[in-house]
Amino acid sequence: MQLQHLGVEDPAPTGVRDAMNVYLPIAEVSVNAFLLLGLGGMVGVLSGMFGVGGGFLMTPLLFFIGIPPAVAVATEANQIVASSFSGVLAHLKRRTVDLKMGTVLLIGGLIGAAFGVQIFNTLRAMGQVDLLVKLSYVVFLGIIGSLMFVESLNAIRKTRSGSPAKRRKKRGLVHKLPFKMRFNTSGLYISAIPPLIVGVFVGILAAIMGVGGGFIMVPAMIYILGMPTKVVVGTSLFQIIFVTGFTTLLHATTNFTVDIVLAVLLLVGGVIGAQIGTRLGAKLKAEQLRILLALMVLLVCGKLAFDLLVQPSELYSLGSNGGH
């Protein structure tokens, strides 16, 4: 009688799917392992190619596959440490890391991360953290994506028309402010305040959005600080590993949301992808690289904006109220 009953209730064999699923101890959900490995690998290639942590792509993808947002953001920080670590090693070997600039950015980053986790936890208790994360994505990705797209198009047009794409030595705010420092690797003599502010800003984003912040730091380094494109990727990766490492610890100790199993699966794919990406990046032209990244940034931005504007099928959502 029981067997008959079972046969009726469970007609579809689920053996194949079962074998690949992995239960995540902190997220408390069961997810396909190959899906996570694949996502990690894909994002890893981007990480190495563009010098971005890839978190801006990974975090929304993790939401999408059903990882709780708080876990996605915290775990992503941990995964970025690993995928950026292999990338930064490759850049250190090629001497394309400005360690002094990286350290200044890092000091700002640590301050920003501490502040960002505070904001994150406050809004999480208020139930607005999803909105904060998504709005931050739409705003930042929209601005950065459009700027990069226009800039890269202009650069490509200039090279095509034959006029040399000469880098102008702008004497802007970065030269007027006090606390000037010499950054030999970048060939700059500028105030330490702008990189510090950039660092703080990126640190806040790292904590709130579960990103390394490369997508905002790379353009900031090029357009605000005037750093040569060659050292930008390595230097941003250098700052990212320490800031995301610090963010991981803050989330682990205040929210208990770092899922090591999820992180390991993502990074196994991620570290290999980053190595491939670093080599791909060295072969492609800077303008092509940037226009590709700009398009990708705009795509993610558009998808997130669309989701905010269209009426969701379920107006209600559940959240644990352990925060208070």
Binding site: P25, S86, L249, L309
Partner: protein, 249 residues
Amino acid sequence: MLRLITLLSLFVAPAYAEEVIADLSQSRISITTDFDGSEILIFGAIKRDGPIDDDAPLQVLVTVEGPNEPITVRRKEKRFGIWINVDAVEIDAAPSFYAIATTAPWDQMITDVEDLRHHVSTPRAIRSVGANIRGSADFTDALIRIRNADDLYQTNIGEVQFDQQTLFSTSVRLPANLHEGDYRARFFLTRRGRVVDTFETKIDVQKVGLERFFFRLSREKPLVYGLMSLAIAISAGWLASAAFRIFRA
């Protein structure tokens, strides 16, 4: 009122006792790394002193309930052109998992009074004492709807097989996104909607092995856990980098 019913039922019910005895295929669910849900077989029998009462059939109702936890239900509304959370209702305690299986349609199973007393139906199993905001029922409904969609709340009408008014069996499918804790299985024996006998047993749902180690460490020594996570991540990053270098050379 309740006392009156109990008193009346003493006259209506047969003089001999009917008891429910039940067991589960497993009293322990281990959440391992490859955990992808589980199915519990539930079976039992009715122990009685006298002959079967034929005018009103016995019904069996089984519930399986996960640990209770407070939960916040939030509602979105369109503001400034985007959909954002505008209000929330805090539900004092809602089971993380709740499955009901019955032998017959709900109206033949249990009266409202008995439901209120034993917290059997899903809305009754959810306690929202403090939630007196206008329209808070919508929030409870939403909680049930969302968890139903995730298979965390199940109402399986007529899914209990009942043979000869004596032997019964059913199965409850536990989904993959299960939380650990002490689960309890409750059995209600009813006649004419009134509870004749109840029985309760525990199911221990626990993470085991590496899952357990990580979970415990992350709660008890979060700093150690965080540092370990970083160490694992960094060493894996370095190893992969080194492996790639060797592979290329």
